[in-house]
């Protein structure tokens, strides 16, 4: 809402404050002032001049030589505006004038002829073109005839006005009117308010002889008032009105339209003027449209309606989309002489529906949507009638033809001083409460500390006790509230075990060199299906897509975090950042339904992406690219930290390198995978060799036992035996290790691979793999025999199971 301070001064005295101080006060007590701007810019030495003569410049086709009477003298001024003419009153900048932008006007010679000043357009006086009446946008501004020659244009054109822009929250629709703003300012500054007095001159002829009103949808149109104004002469509206409209951001059109807009801004009540001669009947019928009914609106759009839309009709066809826009068939034009003026109350939701369906947001629809003041509907119509009589030579017919089922009652809200103080933590007195209510112009009855407040209908937002707490608090001043801390019983705050564990895992990953990413959850439809871990894919019936995405890029919820992480890695690679080590802990979305009706399952996944070099230490010629084992090593460290046992099994997963991918298991349960991206996938993302992992973190949290039980620190020495086996190259180390653990017995505490060899001295297709076996008994010192027996059992088992031979035998 743009508020002209010059306009506002008609209702409240604000001169004691600077615009900045006023804005600060308004912001602090209720409505955020989002900007303070000058309407025009002050111009000095620009006065109203009368064009006594206007002739073609002798040496230039497009210039005119004018004699302009500026009051105390007559100046010869050359003007290039196409609309300049003899007999006009114009804005004449005299030599020595300073125009906005610090343009200094001097005596000049144009094509051999002297010019003493300049005739100005509104743009040249600092007014934004979009607010200027169309007839003056490409030429000079022409004043009405009644302005005095020689008077200062700054005042006449309201150029010194200050406009404050209010950012209104949906509850404060009362401030969508100058009167609403005036009430607000009056309350804040504690100054009196002057309301406009409308006294309509009416003629004897009765409006009801010309029009009937029939509302068929009273639930969404509880009030419809029709006024008839005859003998209208359409022309420009008075200069002051045009000034105020422009200041409020509305372009003046003609007196009829301007008056309805002016009252809309003053009262916050939208009005609509029909050309009664084109109306087509003597009956207003308000009804729901029928499906596929059509009408052409003022903007010449042919609209197809549904039964959700409320229309004003002449009994036969729609003449307006209620509260949103009028119809082209009954539009006011220059030849209009009789106006049917509508002042109505339309239900907000109904208007909202129509304005949304047709994407038509107007000053009118905005106000209806948020709710207008029932007590101002008829008043606004009367105010417009008064202005039609005054400024459009209209004859207002007697009476308003109404349909009226409107609820005019004020809401009653009871407040208690003690309860207000309890809620605010303050110590406000009964007298202060009473004073605040007086400032707000709220009527009330007081009984000790109990106040029965009658909330005025312009404040539709006030319905309950808490609303009044806010009114009291904001006028009392939030700055005056004390600072306290909650008194309630102390409660130990803290992270849950899982939340703490999440932090610990993140710290671990960061400690080993991974940077956390946050990527978008909404991705493309195709990416959403990529690199989905097998155990997630098993439970996935469909991906979850937005009903109306803004772009394909963010249309579907991710089922894996990896694709968007890869896109981020690719973004970096394109910017010469080749070494990437990312992790992200976040949700993926899996629906078990074909057609989604319930919330999808949100699974917490831990994903990682690594590419480029892991270690680079050039002067020591050390360079280690990321590989499978770097990536797996990170996971092993992580599972060690979490104290959970996992196994890795060679696996084929779509999008992954078929020979360099392992699926990860906890017991029999698949919990994710680690491996190299398939080269084609790498290519698709413009990546080089890239390794990824993706882990079911919900399950990790579920099975993790955060409090390890104490294990005795062994007091007896351990024994280490090495075993080097030659096996077929296809046999997995993990399988051998598993067999060793199984055969070795309880004394084998740890098994580690310390060498893998293939090549010279070994048969083709064979590899040698060596393990260190750690034996220990917590209770006693081991004997050689025990260790030997276990060693033999292991050897027997691997020979039997894998055809393994001891190396070097």
């Amino acid at each position: 809402m743009l508020v002209s301070l010059n306009w506002l001064k008609n209702y409240v005295d604000i001169d004691q404050l600077s615009p900045e101080e006023l804005a600060e006060r308004i912001t602090k007590s209720g409505i955020e002032v989002e900007g303070i701007e000058r309407f025009g810019s002050t111009a000095t030495n620009v006065v109203v001049g009368y064009v006594e003569s206007c002739e073609r410049h002798p040496n230039a086709d497009k210039l005119n030589l004018c004699l302009v009477n500026v009051g105390d003298e007559t100046l010869q001024i050359i003007c290039g505006a196409p609309n300049i003419a003899q007999g006009q009153k114009v804005a004449a900048a005299k030599p020595g004038a300073v125009l906005p932008g610090n343009v200094k006007i001097k005596k000049a010679k144009l094509r051999g002829v002297e010019s003493f000043g300049m005739i100005c357009s509104l743009q040249e006086l600092g007014v934004e073109e979009k607010f200027i009446p169309k007839e003056f946008t490409s030429g000079i501004f022409v004043f009405p005839e009644d302005v005095e020659i020689g008077s200062d244009v700054t005042k006449l054109l309201n150029l010194d006005d200050i406009i404050i822009e209010l950012g209104l929250t949906p509850n404060r629709s009362d401030a969508l009117s100058m009167l609403g703003v005036a009430y607000e300012v009056a309350a804040i500054l504690d100054v009196p308010i002057r309301l406009p007095q409308s006294s309509v001159r009416i003629v004897e002829e009765k409006a009801e002889e010309h029009i009937r009103v029939n509302v068929e949808a009273p639930d969404v149109n509880p009030y419809y008032g029709a006024f008839i104004i005859k003998n209208i002469v359409v022309g420009p509206s008075p200069l002051w009105m045009r000034n105020y409209l422009m200041a409020a951001g509305i372009r003046p059109i003609n007196n009829v339209v301007d008056i309805t807009n002016y009252v809309l801004l003053e009262y916050g009540q939208p009005l609509h003027a029909f050309d009664f001669d084109k109306f087509g009947s003597n009956e207003v019928v308000v009804r729901k449209a029928s499906n596929d009914e059509r009408m052409v609106t003022l903007d010449d759009q042919d609209r197809t309606l549904t039964e959700d839309h409320l229309v004003i009709t002449n009994g036969k066809e729609p003449v307006a989309l209620a509260g949103v826009m009028g119809g082209a068939n009954s539009e006011v034009s220059d030849s209009t002489t009789t106006v049917l003026l509508e002042a109505a109350y339309f239900d907000g939701q109904s208007v909202r529906r129509a304005s949304k369906d047709f994407d038509l947001r107007s000053e009118s629809s905005n106000r209806f949507e948020k709710g207008v003041d029932p007590n101002r509907v008829r008043k606004a119509g009367e105010r417009a009638c008064q202005l039609f009589a005054e400024y459009a030579s209209g004859s207002v017919l007697d009476g308003v033809v109404e349909f009226d089922q409107l609820d005019y009652d004020e809401k009653t809200v009871t407040i208690w001083t003690s309860k207000i103080n309890e809620r605010l933590g303050t110590n406000i007195s009964n007298e202060e409460i009473a004073d605040i209510l007086r400032k707000l112009h709220f009527n009330y009855d007081q009984d000790g500390e109990t106040f029965t407040v009658y909330a005025p209908t312009r404040r539709q937002d006030i319905t309950i006790f808490e609303d009044m707490v806010e009114e009291v608090a904001r006028i009392y001043g939030y700055d005056n509230l004390p600072f306290t801390l909650p008194q309630g019983g102390s409660q130990a705050g803290g992270l849950t075990k899982n939340q703490a564990l999440k932090r610990q895992v993140k710290q671990f990953l960061e400690g080993v060199g991974l940077s956390e990413t946050v990527t978008y959850s909404l991705t493309t439809t195709s990416r959403a299906e990529e690199l989905v871990s097998p155990e997630v894919k098993d439970g996935l019936v469909s991906t979850v897509s937005l009903a109306m995405p803004m772009s394909e890029e963010h249309s579907t919820l991710r089922v894996s975090i990896l694709p968007e992480m890869l896109a981020s890695a690719s973004y970096n690679l394109a910017r010469k950042q080749a070494n990437i080590a990312y992790y992200e802990l976040g949700s993926v979305f899996v629906s078990k339904e074909k057609k989604i009706t319930e919330q999808p399952e949100e699974k917490l996944r831990l994903a990682g992406v690594l590419t480029g070099e892991w270690v680079t230490h050039p002067w020591q010629q050390e360079k280690k690219p990321v590989d499978f084992f770097v990536t797996k090593g990170i996971l092993e460290g992580l599972f060690d930290l979490l104290n959970v046992a996992v196994t890795y099994k060679q696996a084929k997963i779509e999008g992954m390198h078929p020979g360099r991918t392992a699926q990860i298991f906890m017991g029999d349960r698949a919990i994710g995978f680690v491996g190299q991206l398939h080269p084609l996938m790498q290519k698709a993302y413009d990546l080089k060799e890239t390794y990824v992992f993706d882990i079911d973190f919900d399950y990790v949290l579920e099975i993790h036992e955060n409090e390890p039980s104490f294990a005795v620190i062994p007091r007896f020495p351990s024994v280490t035996r090495d075993i080097a086996l030659v096996v077929d190259e296809k046999i997995a180390a993990g399988d051998i290790q598993e067999a060793i653990a199984h055969a070795g017995g309880a004394l084998v505490k740890d098994i580690q691979v310390f060498d893998v060899y293939q090549g010279e001295h070994l048969e083709a297709g064979k590899k040698s793999i060596a393990f260190s076996l750690f034996y220990q008994d917590p209770e006693r010192t081991l004997t050689d025999d025990e260790v030997e027996a276990s060693y033999q059992a292991i050897l027997d088992e691997v020979t039997k199971k894998f055809g393994a031979e001891l190396r070097g035998q």
Binding site: R423, D479, P486, S515, L522, L546, Y571, A581, E602, V615
Partner: protein
């Protein structure tokens, strides 16, 4: 004999002096202090001495031996030290050469901000709650006093999935869920950080996905001054002890009264500058007293319980605190951006 011993001592000490290797020193030891050495030889002739002279010469002989042994020990130490120094000199490296790099990762800036805020509120007795990112219309709107058709729904245009499911537009549904689960049985003191989604075109100041932290405290006798006190603690913790806060009336359907909190601009200290758009204040978060309808719907009797709630955007806080100039930086994951804030 006395002279003989003294002469031997002198001779031995000068040999010790002359020795230049451990080996030569070893030879001197064998030559003078060995069982076949001259001093032993001299002592063997002690039998010829008078009983009075014997102890004197004996003592002298011991002193001579000790002196030689000491001299040798010292010389040996010195030689070893010299040897070590020589070795150390050879071992010198260029300490200005770069070390072997260790991979350094770190948290995302948003995580750092969120955890800092979590820790502050945990210290004030709050617990941390989480909830689903795909929400029902009921929890996202209706339970928060935003019935269907409410004009305030426009304030946060949403990504719907079905008529009833949408990407949550704020983390407030977690409050409703938490209260609903407790059903008025006890006070609630919680914060809920998380991802939220709104129908915005991504640009420098808008993002269709962003982060939000909501806080809620419901108990008997919660006052608005408590909200002011807690927010003041928060502002001073995040932005510095010398920051002031102010509350301005605002509107949220789920709180009444509703306020917005500003902090005094730290660039100009409230004087007014381009950062604070000449107002001296910077908007940080929205807050208010929980609307009685919201309490009621979640099973809390508004006549018995009151509460406050607040909601803030970690992106905005990070942008203000660290001068990040474009919200898209948080989601691009440019490593040059991520690494800047690993210590944050």
């Amino acid at each position: 004999m006395k002279e003989q011993l003294q002469a031997l001592e002198q001779e031995a000490l000068s040999k010790v002096e002359e020795a230049s290797t451990i080996k030569e020193l070893q030879d001197v030891r064998v030559a003078y202090l060995g069982k076949k050495g001259p001093i032993t030889e001299v002592l063997r002739g002690m039998g010829k001495l008078s009983p009075e002279e014997r102890p004197i010469i004996g003592e002298l002989a011991n002193t001579v031996r000790a002196n030689i042994a000491n001299a040798m020990e010292e010389k040996k130490d010195a030689m070893e030290r010299a040897e070590l120094e020589k070795q150390l000199a050879e071992e010198q490296i260029d300490v200005t050469l770069p070390g072997r790099p260790v991979a350094v990762g770190g948290p995302h800036l948003l995580t750092s901000i969120v955890e800092e805020i979590e820790d502050l509120f945990i210290g004030l007795g709050f617990e941390v709650r989480e909830g689903p990112e795909v929400e029902t219309d009921y929890y996202n709107f209706e339970a928060l006093n935003l019935p269907k058709g409410h004009p305030a729904r426009d304030m946060q245009d949403s990504f719907y999935i079905t008529e009833d499911l949408l990407m949550r537009t704020h983390t407030s549904p977690v409050q409703a869920r938490t209260m609903n689960a407790i059903q008025g049985a006890r006070p609630v003191k919680m914060i809920c950080p998380g991802k939220v989604y709104r129908r915005d075109t991504d640009d420098a100041t808008h993002s269709h996905q962003f982060t939000q932290i909501e806080g809620l405290y419901v108990d008997k006798n919660v006052r608005m001054s408590d909200l002011k006190g807690v927010l003041d603690r928060f502002a001073k913790h995040m932005f510095g002890e010398d920051r002031e806060i102010r509350l301005r009336p605002s509107f949220f359907p789920f709180t009444e009264p509703s306020v917005e909190m500003d902090i005094s601009c730290k660039v100009c200290n409230g004087e007014g500058c381009s950062v604070c758009k000449k107002t001296g204040w910077i908007e940080i978060l929205g807050a208010g007293m929980v609307h009685p309808r919201v309490l009621e719907m979640a099973g809390y009797d508004p006549n018995e319980y009151s509460g406050f709630a607040f909601g803030m955007g970690p992106e905005r806080i990070a942008m203000l605190k660290y001068g990040v100039d474009d919200i898209r930086h948080f989601y691009t994951n440019d490593v040059r951006f991520l690494k800047q804030y690993h210590q944050a």
